[in-house]
Symmetry: C2
Subunit: 335 residues, 2 copies
DNA sequence: CTGTTAGCGCGTTCAA
DNA sequence: TTGAACGCGCTAACAG
């Protein structure tokens, strides 16, 4: 039924070793023989069995990718960066959603390792000892992607979330704002949550502005939670003049909430966020945001992983990609 | 270095067949023996090699997914549906972006088959004879996902794009609109492009409205192309009173273009689209759209594939999921 | 209930 | 430049 390397060998009148050589581009084959083999392959419609190949060579040219949620635009963008580079280096990716849930993450890491992936790209929540333990039980390289490791014992590619948040808030401060609210992610989330909140606090502190916990609400990164948080702010006795959102989506929710209340952005309130997803320029007013190079984070981490898999020495095992504030229309002077 | 089933057998004082049995949950093992084996597995940190398993059993419990572009919100949503169900049935997915490019599609189909996937989920552009040919060279089941096959010789899961477009335009017509423009996808694209355009024409025809080619522009599904198309319409000597967009993103571009020109939606012009992505409720006015159940399309097609892979008989090899018009705020009466 | 023995399809020595 | 033979780690009969 299925045609194997052995069939090709017989058809071409050579040994299977020779067929293997031509399939693997081994130069030690007489051109004439090579031609014969190719013809036999063509005639029989031979398709090399990658599983058998993987067993014999102990390489699968497949990498595992654990991702929080592929339906989230931000991560989908990273995934595309990963896949493009993977493809370029002839790797395929096995994609697993783990929703930043530790148990699910550990589970998929293990099944990925069972599948003998040549490397692992991990995008998740906090990296715990259990994660480290799971990584260690195999000897394939791992790189963290848009994810930080407290001990940074594992190669990683990310932006500096704290600094990104700092810059965002700084932008507001430079514009004259003093009463700045924040729509944060959960503090359990090291990068999108905790780090960005720290950046917010540091920016206030640096400017000599007192931190006011009434000006901070935590959302779940989604549009609706941005609306909710903003509603809360709008009922405060003394309104903020600007709000910093940990993500674009919540920022857009905030903008619409402000507009629905009859106020204007940025005339009455300014809004800034971190992400700069494609949606940022798809709102009116267009959203001013700190750009996080998601595609590049994916691409660079995959590139790094290919080097690790080839056991090349890498100069930098922890790369921090630059962020940049993209000024659009949602930030103005305080009223 | 790596611990194999053989090591476990020795450690537990049984044969490898027995170890294989307990790992595979074969009931024919004495509970006591089973316990011994589990302990040995634990002690040695044994992790079954799925590649070897795949070679011996001719099953890899992985399915190949070819997708146009994972960074596109619509497809990302489908992908999530696929992965959730795959996960539920203990399959993993290898994800390949093919950008609806025929060559790329054929190429990834082949490498997926080399990897011995147990099934294939194909999401792409037109299904040509070459595609059919590639599918046929293996004997794994294939299901088309959000993709139509002219001859429908392959199981598929999708909505009826023509009818969805028809219903959208019908909605406009029922509201009293007669001069209805369309921002179309490329006609080369069977479902999102051609079928939706056909639906538009049929709706006009049914209502006795003459088709006017000046009222149709084709875009590339992106926001900017919606803006461009709308700009064109706004310069027409006689403006349309409503526009039907083949996708949400272009519709949002159109809305913003209208607003930027000082006009209002839906007071001056109505806008409707097909998709109903999460973005639809993230614009002001919120977008009225025909809902395409993307997550379900993914989930159902994966479920169908599992049945096919288990050689279960399926009642319906061509499933058409229902669509529904979601009325929000972007459609009103003609001025 | 358990063990023995063939392969699965291929890469890779080692000789020739 | 080529071929023979072994083994990758496991499943699946087949015996017992």
């Amino acid at each position: 039924m299925t045609v194997t390397i052995y069939d090709v060998a017989r058809e071409a009148g050579v040994s299977m070793a020779t067929v293997s050589r031509v399939v693997n581009n081994n130069p030690n084959v007489k051109p004439q023989t090579r031609k014969k083999v190719f013809e036999a392959i063509e005639r029989l419609g031979y398709r090399p069995n990658a599983v058998a190949r993987g067993l014999a060579s102990k390489k699968t040219t497949t990498v595992g990718v654990v991702i929080p949620d592929i339906s989230n635009a931000i991560f989908a963008e990273v995934a595309r960066g990963i896949e493009d580079i993977a493809n370029m280096y002839h790797y395929n990716i096995i994609l697993c959603n783990a929703d930043k849930k530790k148990d699910k993450e550990i589970r998929v890491i293990n099944t990925l390792l069972e599948k003998q992936v040549d490397g692992l790209l991990f995008m998740g929540g906090a990296v715990t000892d259990e994660h480290l333990q799971a990584f260690k039980t195999s000897n394939v390289p791992v790189v963290l992607c848009a994810t930080t490791d407290e001990n940074d014992s594992i190669p990683s590619v990310d932006i500096d979330h704290e600094a990104a948040a700092f810059d965002a808030v700084q932008t507001l401060i430079n514009q004259g704002h003093k009463r700045i609210a924040m729509i944060s992610g959960t503090l359990q989330d090291p990068s999108n949550g905790y780090a960005r909140f720290q950046g917010y606090k540091r920016a206030l502190e640096t400017a000599g502005i007192d931190y006011d916990e009434n000006l901070v609400r935590t959302g779940n990164y989604r549009y609706e939670s941005g609306v909710e948080a903003m509603k809360y702010f709008l009922e405060l006795p003394e309104l903020p003049t600007a709000v910093f959102s940990a993500t674009d989506e919540m920022a857009i929710g905030a903008i619409h909430c402000i507009q629905d209340s009859g106020r204007k952005v940025p005339d009455d309130l300014s809004v800034i966020s971190v992400d700069n997803s494609r949606m940022a320029s798809m709102v009116r007013p267009q959203l001013t945001a700190v750009a996080q190079p998601m595609y590049d984070i994916g691409a660079v981490s995959m590139r790094l992983l290919t080097k690790l898999m080839k056991k090349e020495t890498v100069e930098q095992a922890r790369v921090v990609l630059p962020h940049e504030v993209i000024k659009r229309q949602s930030v103005g002077n305080p009223k």
